[in-house]
Assembly symmetry: C2
Homo-oligomer: 278 residues x 2
């Protein structure tokens, strides 16, 4: 495969989380992969400045930082902690040289049945974080997660809901992440992708395939590209018809992939991208 | 609790599937439960005619038969088998004296990524089954299942999709099932419930609560009423504001409940209904 074919491909670090950062960089260089989306925890363990230098020296682009969010705490102390943590995430994104911080909104507070109220608290947090991020050249990318995560992880379940939140703010502050895994079932998603593109709000585009049976907890069963039910080319075409020309991250949470050699998984993932999404 | 308080309550047989049919009937009578939704497999094992007599003699109402459907096979032989089986399900519903057959549409055929095509095959099947059902006094109640089942169980994931299908046919042939477990995350569901009610298409209303973590396979983790994230009174109010005055079935698929004494679970379920949904 050529660098040209992979020019839009970005490997999300979670897909190959078994690779330490220097090995991730080496593997990308060896395979002609030019971009990666990073996660806060491994970056902070390695050091934010050291990670930024590692990628800059290798000539690799950091496409997103995953992730901020978890903004639904109802109590003032919990809210303040979440906002502090998200400002740090913005700072880390800026230091890494990426313009995009992916946000996962957070679930219902313990004992709550109030989805609408929780979504409203996300909006309140975005009002505080948006200007902070913009001042540092970082855009917030609200990611709707599949409705199966609505109670415990993300009260924003559809692109329509994510855009209803994002459109309260300037596009250079708040947009959305389109992840095939989370939206593929939604016959309203194509229209929402067009809406997001028209507003310049597709800040990140991620791929994962839908495979069953889902594992317990439903977190770590995202399928390798081509293994599942999602027509990747069709979704890529929708996102590009909406004007998106940015990186396409493959982000898989998958116990079976994590148990394998990370370089091999990265090579397979790039090959699957070329086969099913290029 | 009084019979009056439970007048709208119906126990779906699946909630207490450990109870043989005669024990289910005895338990209902002992607790003042007047209605039950039945499932085809245990009914056929006991005998359709014998089941009908059992319920009639006890003065109990059969609120629904679960379930027909699985209508997405693309090949002629598979389609013919599915239609034959659904005509039998209609006959069984009529024999049991219920006017409502719940339909679960079916998932994607093996290897397919075409959700839209599968949904269209459901519509084609409804066109054949609707008149057959109407002639026997049975209404088809298309049940949208949570989007986590879209690939392997039900390509109809939202009330909007279910109504888009149902509204191609007369309301006395095809309506929808509203099940809190499947729609609770959907901020578009309240408007769709109003739409369904205005068209006389709420043919069944079922309750189950949303609890996490989800078990592997995500089938048998439906929470007892009151244990999860769903505001049952709010959903009941929406359905009743849309004009629905029919039975309210509690349908739980839950390994922990199935491991317990069935009469105790039925008593608990009725009590939870009174506490959280009455």
């Amino acid at each position: 495969m050529s660098v040209q074919d992979l020019s839009r491909f970005s490997i999300n670090q979670m897909t190959v989380k078994q690779l330490p950062l220097p090995e991730l960089v080496d593997s990308c260089l060896a395979l002609g992969v030019r971009s990666a989306g990073l996660w806060r925890e491994p970056v902070r363990a390695y050091g934010v400045t050291a990670t930024a230098r590692l990628f800059r020296d290798a000539g690799l682009t950091v496409t997103t930082l995953c992730r901020g969010g978890f903004l639904t705490a109802p109590d003032p102390a919990g809210r303040a902690r979440a906002l502090d943590d998200n400002r740090r995430a913005v700072d880390e994104a800026a230091a890494l040289g990426t313009d995009t911080l992916v946000l996962v909104s957070g679930g219902l507070p313990a004992g709550s049945k109030d989805l609408r109220g929780a979504r409203e608290r996300v909006a309140e947090a975005l009002a505080e974080l948006g200007p902070y991020a913009e001042a540092r050249g970082v855009r917030l990318a609200v990611e709707p997660l599949h409705p199966m995560y609505a109670s415990d992880r993300c009260v924003v379940s559809t692109l329509a809901q994510a855009l209803d939140l994002a459109e309260r703010f300037p596009a250079q502050q708040v947009g959305v992440t389109v992840d095939t895994y989370h939206v593929w079932w939604d016959d309203n998603a194509p229209a929402q992708i067009a809406r997001a593109g028209a507003g310049g709000r597709i800040h990140s585009f991620q791929l994962a395939d839908w495979t069953t049976p889902l594992p317990a907890g439903v977190l770590d069963g995202r399928g390798q590209i081509g293994d599942g039910s999602i027509d990747m080319r069709a979704w890529r075409a929708l996102v590009e018809a909406a004007g998106y020309t940015g990186p396409i991250e493959v982000e898989l949470f998958n116990d079976a992939l994590w148990a394998r050699d990370g370089r091999e998984v990265l090579a397979e993932t790039a090959a699957r991208f070329l086969e099913h999404a290029a």
